[in-house]
Symmetry: C2
Subunit: 348 residues, 2 copies
């Protein structure tokens, strides 16, 4: 696969970087002015023709310069993108973000999303930590009158989840209190992901001894255990940034993407982010499963809590994205998030 000559790779890298910077097709004359290679435009033209034939470059029209193809971006990301540090100003902003003592875990994620979109000028999607790994700290059931009640679940990260549940008629208030005590006694410390099996294995049987009308309360457990299925909340930041990018100056191009981002509660937004993988993942154009994003690049990273993948953060922009910078920022951010989250978990 990697059959490019060193010179071809230099030229490809130069074209990608130039195009990312100026959003204009890159011509042979422009490249020949680069310090790095002392080559005439004609030579470069020959190389570019080869690169185009190999599929790494596209030509918008006969007499324009070349732009990277999606395959070209992919090669750049895999083999050419330079290593290095993030610029100090950016590091500073990220430091400030993670130094402030934000109480709630969800706030941290939301703020991260906002800052990332400011830093990158792209849109951001952030996925709050899934409930699975979090451990139950407290359970409460508050009757609202009538049949309805609200069930509250607090986890060790300080996250509060609440769910409305229906009670059967005329449950004795004492039974509710006993149920809550029983739940807390049995479930505190259990990871939310294992709540359901715990509920049925250990608690349901014991309920018969303690409660008068335990059949009616089983339903409550059912509703409560649905919380375990919650993947984290979705936060979207800087969607309007898409409009800054030249490739989305046309409203008809921008609208579908903005509509997708708007449905922050929808399933589609979740599927945008590649979950579970380790390290920073890059999806260029057609590599995206969501059809709306086939002219976009999504770069995402997963953060962990206590060594287990918990959520992820991603940046969405045109395929002409500043790969190097975004990848570095996401690496930094994901590891900072992992640290902050895990600290919170350990300290809590």
């Amino acid at each position: 696969m990697d059959v490019l000559t060193p010179r071809q790779r230099m030229i490809l890298a130069a074209i990608v970087e130039d195009y990312i910077r100026f959003a204009e097709p890159v011509g042979s004359r422009t490249l020949s002015k680069h310090q790095e290679f002392q080559l005439s435009p004609a030579t470069i033209r020959n190389e570019m023709a080869d690169l185009e034939e190999l599929g790494y470059l596209d030509q918008p029209h006969t007499s324009a310069g070349r732009i990277p193809s999606q395959k070209g971006y992919r090669y750049y990301v895999d083999h050419l993108a330079a290593q290095g540090d993030i610029d100090p100003a950016t590091v500073h902003m990220l430091r400030v973000l993670f130094q402030q003592r934000l109480d709630e875990v969800e706030r941290v994620i939301q703020q991260t999303s906002v800052v990332l979109s400011q830093l990158t000028q792209y849109a951001t999607i952030a996925l709050g930590p899934a409930m699975h790994q979090q451990k139950i700290k407290h359970i409460q059931l508050v009757p609202l009158g009538g049949q309805s009640a609200v069930a509250i679940l607090v986890t060790d990260t300080g996250h509060v989840e609440n769910r409305h549940v229906q009670l059967a008629d005329d449950i004795p208030p004492d039974d509710v209190v006993r149920l809550v005590n029983l739940l807390n006694a049995k479930l505190v410390g259990t990871p939310v992901g294992r709540m359901r099996s715990h509920l049925y294995r250990e608690i349901a049987s014991e309920m018969a001894n303690v409660l008068e009308r335990y059949e009616d309360l089983i339903a409550v457990l059912d509703q409560l255990s649905e919380v375990a299925d919650d993947t984290g909340r979705v936060y979207v930041g800087g969607a309007a940034n898409m409009l800054v990018q030249p490739e989305f100056r046309d409203v008809e191009k921008a609208r579908p993407v903005l509509e997708l981002l708007e449905q922050a509660d929808g399933q589609q937004v979740r599927s945008v982010l590649p979950m579970g993988g380790s390290g920073v993942q890059v999806r260029i154009g057609m590599e995206n499963t969501v059809p709306t994003l086939q002219d976009c690049t999504v770069i995402a990273a997963t953060y962990q809590v206590g060594g287990v993948p918990a959520g992820s953060i991603g940046v969405i922009g045109p395929t002409r994205m500043n790969y190097v910078r975004v990848i570095r920022i996401l690496e930094y951010t994901a590891s900072a998030l992992t640290r902050v989250m895990t600290e919170r978990l350990a300290g809590g």
Copy 2:
């Protein structure tokens, strides 16, 4: 002020309605074809010239038709907009929305926002009910370990608010339990808005008797009472709809508005909606206090809970907005919301 002749009013109304529909300047020939008035183009031209001089019409350029000025829209809304019913399809969608039994009050608001933006093809802002009027149903304090704890407040509408608080070192666990019991005994049934005064007047004094280190717990009350200041949450729907409107086809026009809408937690979005007034309020162009919206119209309505204004819903679009339809839809929606919310309050 109202010095327009009946014929001028007819012509103004026709121009406004035609322009709202087709988004193209309206010429005298077009108008003369309307059934209503049997007038030649020349006559209409004379009237239009007068209306322009009076400030009700604008002319984009010498040889274009006329478009309504902001003053023209204002006159239309105040004096000319026809009464009538909403189309059956729209009513149906709203009925369906308010018939479904959504558990959480916040969900109702959010769904309303989504449906409104679908129905109108404009953007929507919805303000969830402020905490003031809601009555305290339950208070809980869950220590997370270390100094931090999470305070949970459930209201009679089933809304759950939580807030992270810092405890002083080494508070005896028993004291926390006693404090929670005391708070519940004294505060359940109190409107959140009066919580703060209750806290200091009745409870703080009593704490000395019950608790060993009550000075350290006063701080907790302080933090808890901040919840009372919460205005409702902001929901934004259909922001991408702005891009459908011809006046926002230019990205540079659309971006500031979208950026404003994106900051759903910011103070500016709140100030977009005129709060407290009764009935449907219309703000046209320059009438908006937010500078970003001076080419937009905001139509908003306030819904009540138990006879008191609680939150509001608003629609944002270009000044060329379908005033009649949006006003009616908002009237319907606000009264439906008032009904649904108040029912919930009464039943809960």
